[in-house]
Amino acid sequence: METIYYFLNSYAGMFITQSVLHSAVAAVMADCSIAAWGITDPVRRQSMRIGVILIPIVAFPIYQIINPERGGLHFRLDVLLDSGGWLLMKLWGHVPVIAFIGLVLGLTVILFLFQELLPVVGHTAGSLMRKGGKGDDGDDESAEIPERYDQAVLMALGEMPGEKPEVVIIDDEDLVVFSSTGRVPAVYVSTGLLDSLDREQLKGAIAHEIAHIRRTRRPVLTFLFVFRVMMFFNPVALFEFRRAVQEEEEICDEEAVRTTGNPAALTSALERFLEGDGHAQTDEGAVARIEDYSQDMLIRTRIKRLAALDAGGPDSSGRMSLLLFVAGTVIVNYFVV
């Protein structure tokens, strides 16, 4: 325990502990702001989620520059929360609390590796390999797809303004639509989806994916992922990163509606996804079922949000609410060590 005590009082130890605590405080502050002002704008909500991940990374070194004694004995006597009291405590006189905290951080690292880092690495490697053998694969796939699917995609794309990415049709009866980014971005739609959606619904779905492609060109999302990687051990950052990604879906919904001018079509397309999910669940494991459930929840939230958009949903928040969230978080976190 003596070694742990000195590690927790070192710069690295204080950074790890305080960044987790500061993220937790920031996450509560973000939810307080959202609840207090009834913020419905997903852009503003996403800014707050990014703040939850970013503020702890930036604020700690600044705090220490402003007051190098901040982690010291005397400062800790007058703070709002001194983590040392909890971390060095032994439950029932034997079980160190820090063992539980270490377990949570360890699980977070494992989740980060297997659910976030490795899929990104795999996706990047897959994209590079596809690029290498693009001619053969592309020709074989398109040769099997009936022409009516191409027509459906062309009709949907034709009425959309602006730059359009390549649309790749996948021979799959499930409802699938996603986009890939990078130098040659593309939207992928399945034949099952093309059979299920009418032209307006398809326009909404493709416009949503195009919005994703447009937004990934902005550095803010790249920075968000870099911050997330820096906070690989932080369970709060893991949770908030996912919430920021969920906000991204709603932002893209709004952009799609701006492009098509038809929120009802996107809503009904999303409803198709809810209806189409049922058949795939019988042979899935518990984890997959949980993921399906959370996916359904996300779609339902998006449908609700689109309905609010349709009705001209209220949003009385301003930039001042974001500023107050940042200021409040920075001030409170200064006294959390």
Binding site: L77, V79, K90, V336
Partner: protein
């Protein structure tokens, strides 16, 4: 106008929620001390800390140089993860004039009140048969300070003082057992 009123209502709700968060953090801070009293915390005085079994071996000097006020203005103690006690004494100008730290760990850091801004000299000496380490330099406010550290049984003792080294050695000698 209506928009401004809505925003102001949101602001009041936000302040209320922050107040609740601060209150929650304060409770969270108080809880470990209530469950387990081994963490670093202040004590009213030297006698109070000595009553606890973990701090029975705490040594207090029998000699105090002129200008040091008794009792100590701050007494801190922890029994876990290792025993450590800090006693801080004020001088004439109500400045920290003397800091005594006693710990079972050699690396224990008693805080900024016992830290040099600039270290000028560091020498080894014999303190009545015990190897001791003396340092001199400048305090945070630029005044001359000195410190002496040695081991008394299992206890690592360090004195830090705004005074010449000779006064500090005399004070240290009054703590030898």
């Amino acid at each position: 106008m209506n928009r401004h009123i809505e925003w102001a209502k949101g602001f009041i709700r936000f302040i209320g929620l922050i107040a609740a968060l601060v209150a929650f953090l304060l409770v969270l801070n108080w809880l470990p001390g209530a469950i387990d009293k081994g963490g670093m915390r202040p004590y009213p005085g030297v006698d109070d800390i000595r009553k606890e079994a973990a701090f029975g071996s705490v040594i207090v000097p029998s000699y105090f140089p002129e200008g040091i006020k008794w009792p100590p203005s701050l007494v801190l103690g922890q029994s876990r993860p290792f025993m450590a006690v800090v006693m801080e004494f004020d001088g004439d100008g109500n400045q920290r004039a003397l800091v005594i730290s006693e710990s079972l760990s050699a690396d224990f850091e008693p805080g900024h009140a016992a830290r040099f801004l600039e270290l000028r000299q560091s020498v080894e000496m014999d303190l009545q048969g015990r190897p001791a380490h003396i340092e001199t330099g400048l305090c945070r406010d630029g005044a001359s300070c000195s410190s002496i550290s040695w081991k008394e049984g299992d206890l690592h003792i360090r004195l830090f003082m705004r005074a010449p080294t000779l006064t500090l050695i005399r004070l240290a000698e009054s703590m030898l057992q």
